[in-house]
């Protein structure tokens, strides 16, 4: 642990103002009269306003760019943090499934996942420490100001970190000890506790971050009113909490998917190959399951940013950051296409998949079309001759795809058809045996048809033929339509395929090498996307450390351009992926036993 810079809020305003020499006498004289009021007066702590800094207030280290250093370390900490918070969530679920089904494969897979995350946990802690040091070193006044407001939660964070470590070690090292009967329940309870502490830690750190975006419990000058909970529970805290929980699970799934792909490619026999194919499938399932609601969580967060500050919202979507959403479209397109491609390849494991194969190409066409709509920018960057021939910056036909209603429609199609891919995959090896299977299928076809028509009507009619208010508002029933399709269809499928016959045993391991690269693409795209969106989240504060109350006066107060941000994010991603591969490698060597014949002295 590090020492915080020495500072203490003054006890009250008069204490701050009184000359030191006069203070004892004044206190003595005032003592009798003020005796009754002494307690409340002492309790009334007056906090200083946010400091007004100059460039000279920022320490420098020759050859080190403070912003880049903090940016990279914070991002690396966040990537690892997201991974180690997410893994115990699905490890807990997988372990529970194993316990309920008594299928040991689930238990082994859960253990393997937590084994991978244990090294990542150390790296998260190291990077967290490095981040704190970097902040204290390069941005001491900012750290001091934040610590003044969040001192209690920072201390609680440190204590919780000990608790997290203890529970994690018991959970991991006690895995094989706490097996069977009531012991398994005890182990699961530790898993639950691990998740509770992990999520709480993340929520606390989120509070500090979101306070910098949407400060609460402070006045216009940044004077803290002393209400820590109000500062924690600031406007964007819950939207970020929700977004990060969902995104972390999807991200964690993609990273363990990459792990499984790496092990699959390195497998020495069919048994290993089958095992890691199965692990990869489950990881991809986790990633997709969390990826489906993620755009909604993102949309909610953005809507809340608008609600908090229209200026912030417009800076985000219509200002310098607007083009970032085209990059985001490319990345999310890559995520969805790679996840779907993996599913389609996975259908090769089943003898019954041929029934669905002809439909895959149509799903692929819809996914690519939806991606292209999302990818279409609002304003085209053209040469002068192109501008003249088009008659303006908007294309006569493609221009309509540039606005949000078209993109909302495209995203909902992307989600619905990804779900359809997954449904086909699940059905590939099964034949429904219930008497109402035909009716059930017809109901599902009707559900998808009506739902998709509804999404189009909401997008086209309300998006283009009514006023702006409806344009934005129509996105909510669109999302609800998609959710209804997914939920109702899952319920019908669950009942329809209860007791279904298997076409043939699944051929785990019968997967192409290319399919494994789809899992890598998923992990790399996700990592890069998180880095990019981290830049945006932080960047919309512009030249403020704490939005509108604490100005950034450092030489790096300007918002970096997209190209520059892409450079930093790419460097960070490469460092992260190298560290992740190191973690994978460690988990591989930890199980190896080399027999060093002749090295050890023979024991009698």
């Amino acid at each position: 642990m590090f020492m915080l810079p020495a500072f203490t809020p003054v006890a009250n305003a008069s204490e701050a103002a009184a000359p030191a020499a006069a203070a004892p006498a004044a206190a003595e004289a005032a003592a009798p009269a003020a005796a009754a009021e002494a307690a409340p007066a002492a309790a009334a702590v007056v906090y200083p306003p946010a400091p007004k800094l100059t460039e000279a207030d920022y320490p420098t280290i020759k050859g080190v760019n403070a912003r880049v250093a903090v940016w990279l370390v914070a991002q690396l900490h966040l990537w690892f943090g997201a991974f180690v918070v997410a893994v115990p969530m699905f490890v807990f679920i997988i372990e529970s499934i194993g316990m309920m089904t008594r299928d040991e494969r689930y238990d082994n897979m859960a253990y393997e996942f937590i084994k991978v995350s244990i090294t990542a946990y150390s790296l998260t802690a190291i990077l967290g420490g490095l981040l704190s040091f970097s902040l204290v070193l390069f941005y001491p006044d900012l750290f001091k100001y934040l610590a003044l407001i969040f001192k209690e939660s920072m201390f609680a964070y440190a204590l919780l970190f000990f608790a997290e470590s203890a529970v994690l070690y018991i959970y991991y090292y006690g895995w094989h000890w706490l097996q069977g009967g009531n012991k398994k329940w005890v182990h699961l309870t530790f898993g639950l506790l691990l998740n509770a502490v992990g999520v709480l830690l993340m929520f606390l750190a989120n509070a500090w971050t979101t306070f910098m975006m949407s400060p609460a419990a402070v006045d216009a000058a940044g004077v803290f009113n002393g209400n820590t909970w109000e500062a924690i529970h600031n406007f964007l805290w819950n939207p970020i909490n929700i977004h990060r929980v969902v995104a972390n699970v999807a991200y964690g799934g993609s990273i363990v998917g990459a792990y499984a792909a790496f092990k699959f490619l390195s497998a020495r026999n069919n048994e290993e190959r089958a095992h890691y194919d199965w692990v990869g499938y489950n990881a991809n399932f986790i990633a997709i399951a969390a990826l489906l609601p993620l755009p909604f969580a993102g949309y909610y967060l953005t809507a809340e940013m608008y609600a908090y500050s229209q200026q912030m919202g417009i800076t985000l979507m219509g200002g310098v950051f607007a083009w970032i959403f085209i990059i985001q479209a490319v990345l999310i397109g890559a995520l969805f296409l790679s996840a779907n491609y993996y599913l389609w390849c996975g259908m090769g494991r089943s003898e019954g998949a041929y029934r669905y194969n002809p439909r895959i190409k149509y799903i692929a066409i819809v996914l690519v079309a939806a991606f292209l709509v999302w990818f279409t920018p609002h304003t085209l960057v053209l040469t002068n001759s192109e501008l003249k021939s088009l008659g303006g910056p908007y294309h006569a036909y493609l221009g309509v795809f540039g606005i949000m209603p078209a993109k909302n429609t495209a995203v909902n199609f992307l989600l619905t058809f990804t779900f359809m891919s997954f449904m086909f995959y699940r059905r590939a090896n099964k034949v429904a045996t219930v008497s109402w299977a035909t009716t059930g299928n017809a109901a599902q076809i009707a559900l998808f048809t009506v739902g998709l028509i509804n999404i189009v009507i909401l997008g086209v009619y309300y998006g283009y033929f009514t006023n702006t208010v409806y344009k934005v508002a129509a996105s909510i029933p669109q999302v609800l339509t998609t959710l209804i399709i997914i939920i109702v269809s899952t319920v019908i499928d669950t009942f329809m395929y209860k007791g279904a016959k298997d076409v043939a045993p699944l051929h785990w391991g019968r997967m192409s090498t290319r399919s494994q690269y789809a899992l890598f693409l998923l992990a790399v795209s996700f990592t890069w996307l998180m880095g990019l969106m981290g830049y945006v989240r932080s960047g919309i504060r512009q030249h403020w450390h704490v939005s509108n109350i604490f100005r950034d006066a450092s030489p790096d107060a300007y918002t970096p351009g997209l190209g520059y941000a892409a450079n930093i994010v790419s460097i960070g991603t490469i460092i992260f992926m190298a560290m992740v591969i190191f973690v994978f490698w460690l988990s591989t060597i930890s199980g190896k036993h080399v027999v060093a014949k002749g090295y050890w002295k023979e024991q009698a």
Binding site: Q310, T315, I327, T468, A566, M577
Partner: protein, 269 residues
């Protein structure tokens, strides 16, 4: 080992693809630098200059045009001189203003005094405005700047300009911003600040919406270039469309910056 290399190469390729697209596939917009407070001597200003200052703040530091534009995010203010008296009589009006000037001042510092129908915060039934107090931290206009914006709004909104130029030093009088207010030192800084490269090919930037300026000094003299900067619509270059270049550089640039840029451009041969 071979798999390790293959996977590493594939990952690097993907990262390279995303990096390349972000750098070369989309326009590189240089974000505006943090706003600096300028030191102006209001005592020497004419009312026209004061209105022009208000226009500059309205379009710049005040960030008013983020919402008050043709996109429909906030009401247009081009007829505010006519509509303000009607709004003050409206039953929903909660303010105390008695004149257009007072109404504008109130709208800037207490935007919820009257919320135009359809422009209120979601769920507030047009009782709460999403607009911030422009004297608050995010925008932080001082009283002199506020007066300049009101003068500009009165002038552009069809009302009589009643605001008096404050008898004080305006923006940033108390701030240690003398150094910040100094004119830019090089033409490259001017080009970067005013983002000329977003539309023109100049100083290593590849904008293509306006004429190529890399050899502009060969064909155009200083008078032409000065006029092109101050009044871009006066002469539209052959093969290009009018209405693309901001007409506000004359108000935004310092005289020294303007002359430096004109000399620089004239020297590009």
């Amino acid at each position: 080992m071979i798999n390790f290399l293959k996977v590493s190469f594939f990952s690097l390729l993907m990262v390279g693809g995303f990096w390349g697209f972000s750098n070369f596939g989309i326009p590189q917009i240089k974000p505006a630098p943090p706003p600096v407070e300028e030191k102006l001597d209001l005592g020497a200003m004419t009312m026209d200059q004061f209105i022009a200052l208000g226009g500059k703040i309205y379009n710049g530091k005040g960030t008013c045009t983020l919402c008050h534009n043709a996109m429909g995010r906030a009401p247009m203010l081009d007829k505010i001189g006519t509509v303000a008296p009607e709004r003050m009589k409206d039953a929903r009006y909660k303010g105390t203003a008695k004149s257009v000037e007072e109404y504008l001042h109130e709208s800037l510092v207490k935007p919820s005094a009257f919320v135009v129908s359809g422009f209120g915060k979601s769920g507030t039934n047009d009782t709460e405005s999403p607009m911030p107090d422009v004297t608050g931290g995010g925008i932080g206009l001082n009283e002199a700047e506020l007066a300049a914006v009101i003068a500009y709004l009165q002038d552009s909104g069809g009302a009589e300009v009643t605001v008096a130029i404050p008898a004080m030093e305006a923006p940033g009088a108390e701030a240690p911003a003398a150094a910040e207010a100094a004119p830019l030192k090089t033409p490259e800084e001017v080009i970067a600040k005013f983002t000329c490269g977003a539309c023109h090919k100049i100083a290593g930037q590849e904008g293509a919406l306006g004429p190529d300026l890399t050899k502009i000094g060969k064909t155009k003299n200083k008078e032409y270039l000065r006029q092109a900067l101050l009044d871009p619509e006066a002469v539209i270059a052959k093969g290009f469309t009018g209405g693309m270049m901001p007409p506000t550089y004359g108000e935004q640039m310092k005289a020294k910056e303007l002359e430096m840029l004109v000399n620089y451009l004239a020297g590009l041969k």
